[in-house]
Amino acid sequence: MTAIELHGVTKQFADVTAVDDLDLAVEEGEIYGFLGPNGAGKSTTINMVLDLVRPTTGNVTVLGRDATADSVEIRRRTGVLPEGFSVYNRLSGRKHVEFAIESKGIDAEPETLLERVGLSAEAWDRKAGGYSKGMCQRLALAMALAGEPELLILDEPSSGLDPAGAKEMREIVRAEADRGATVFFSSHVLGQVEAVCDRVGILRDGELVAEDSIEGLRDAVGGEETLDIETAGVDEDALESVRALDGVSQVVRVEGSDRIRVNCANDVKTRVIATLEDAGVGVSDFHTEEASLEDLFLAYTEGDSASPRVGDDDEETAGGPADGDDAEEADGTDETDPTATAEEVDR
């Protein structure tokens, strides 16, 4: 069964088309990253899945049920971390989680959930109005995780979290997937997506412009990597054994030196090095050159006009503008966050 299925879904707001004839299928058990710059229509799509917004045309099916008619039943089986939400300022964190437990009609310990999302115990009984953005994000995640939902829908989950918090978020996402849950999350930050997703879809101006695994996308953009290896001396046999590896397309020895250049897929880099070492070749240094994920992302979302930018940071976590205004979101004029992740050149 597919966990989330959209068929020819269009959402027209007064003067903009936020989502345009979108087909999307999220398989049960997978982690699906929903990517796109701010304003691409990600939140509108998620809001249609949650029945906060109704499609102008098309069908949305969640867990085999109609998103509008069976919305309550769907949400009973789904954990949701919304985007651009606010907490109840006058209620404590504990009260929030208790409310979620009561609403879902389940039996769970609020403390266990609060602990799991890393909200410190001294904050549990404080009014949530005094929480930071990151704490609110953790609190809403605790509410979403209550009751071991079959499906988790996380809209920009890392916004407001620091790098450590974003890492914890990814670990929770992975743990939930291991438990058997389907995870659908949106992001405009590539680093988060690459690290956890089985599959990603890239949305641009309300249309899905790409859908594949990260490796698949990289290949599609011609983003094969080049591994530049400095050896202590290499022979033809060793090169042959590298050529024989799956995912290696080209192996060249740089004229007049012991350096070799290997064109290969991202995930065979370590095998290339290991194969060389097994063949008795001393590897003194190596680095990779690749189309960074940032370039990849821009190639899809901004076409050829994009000027590649290289970020200097592994995690982008400050979060983009968290406005939930669909009309504004839909106009697509927001720029991609310039601090978004680029893959590191050295590994």
Partner: protein, 271 residues
């Protein structure tokens, strides 16, 4: 399952609001002061709880302040959450939009009832302390009528809040409710009657009957009608029996219709 959860959460949230506390204290103080001020100078003869309530506290305080407090705590019930974004958190849980609207009506009505009970507590103490013929039964009964009035106005205000797309619309709606029901009802219905006189004339009802109906159709007048009948030991009896029945029916109408109409709009909206 879902409705009580929303109502309970909303009650907890509302009783923690500072505006609520301030209004309760103000209301309580005013009733106490009034009870003390209109106490008889000399002999306590003829001054009874019933008179205090039906001539002073009722018309001057309850019918003006209770609707005000109800509108203040009700007008932003749904629209406020919509604007702040906490509605997204609420609807991320398995609640229908009907659960949201009616949960809020119940939660806030409960909060207001609690506030009214507390608000009448201090004046009761004052009445016991000053030497008047204090009738606890009448006082308690009157408190219940004040609560009913509060709940009806909460319903109207929450219904309006559910229909509003923005907090601004909801505020205008709230002010409108107060003006229409509390300040301008007589004028408006008078105008209406004048305009439709020729329409009503051929109908088998007299102008007076229509006028009386319009009067008790206002929850404010209706509750006074009922409360006064109660204080006079004439509840659903005596000359005004039919008026009292109309008034009761209209109170039920106002408690149900506005949230339903509000829900109709809220249910169709993109949030």
């Amino acid at each position: 399952m879902s409705l009580p959860a929303v109502a309970k959460k909303d009650l907890q949230d509302t009783v923690r609001s500072r505006a609520m506390v301030v209004l309760v204290v103000l209301f309580s103080a005013l009733v106490s002061v009034m009870a003390y001020a209109v106490r008889p100078a000399g002999e306590g003869q003829g001054f009874e709880t019933e008179i205090l309530l039906s001539f002073f506290v009722g018309p001057i305080l309850v019918t003006t302040l209770v609707p005000l407090v109800a509108v203040v705590i009700g007008y932003n019930a749904v629209s406020g959450e919509r604007e702040s974004g906490s509605l997204k958190l609420l609807l991320s849980l398995p609640h229908s939009r009907a659960d949201v609207v009616f949960g809020k009506v119940i939660g806030r009505a409960a909060a207001l009832s609690l506030a009214i009970a507390v608000g009448f507590l201090v004046p009761a103490v004052v009445l016991i302390a000053i030497p008047v013929a204090f009738n606890p039964g009448a006082f308690l009964g009157y408190t219940v009528f004040a609560m009913i009035l509060g709940c009806v106005f909460v319903s109207i205000a929450v219904g309006c809040s559910a229909a509003a797309s923005t907090q601004r619309q909801a505020l205008i709606g709230g002010i409108g409710i107060y003006f229409v029901f509390v300040l301008l009802w007589g004028t408006l219905t008078g105008q209406l009657l004048g305009a439709f006189e020729s329409v009503i004339d051929p109908l088998p009802v007299s102008l007076i009957q229509v006028q009386t109906f319009l009067e008790v159709a206002n929850p404010n007048t209706g509750i006074q009608e009922l409360a006064n009948a109660f204080l006079a030991d004439q509840l659903f009896a005596g000359e005004t029996r039919n008026q009292q029945i109309s008034a009761s029916a209209m109170l039920v109408f106002w408690a149900l219709a506005p949230p339903l109409v509000g829900l109709l709009k809220f249910d169709r909206d993109d949030l």
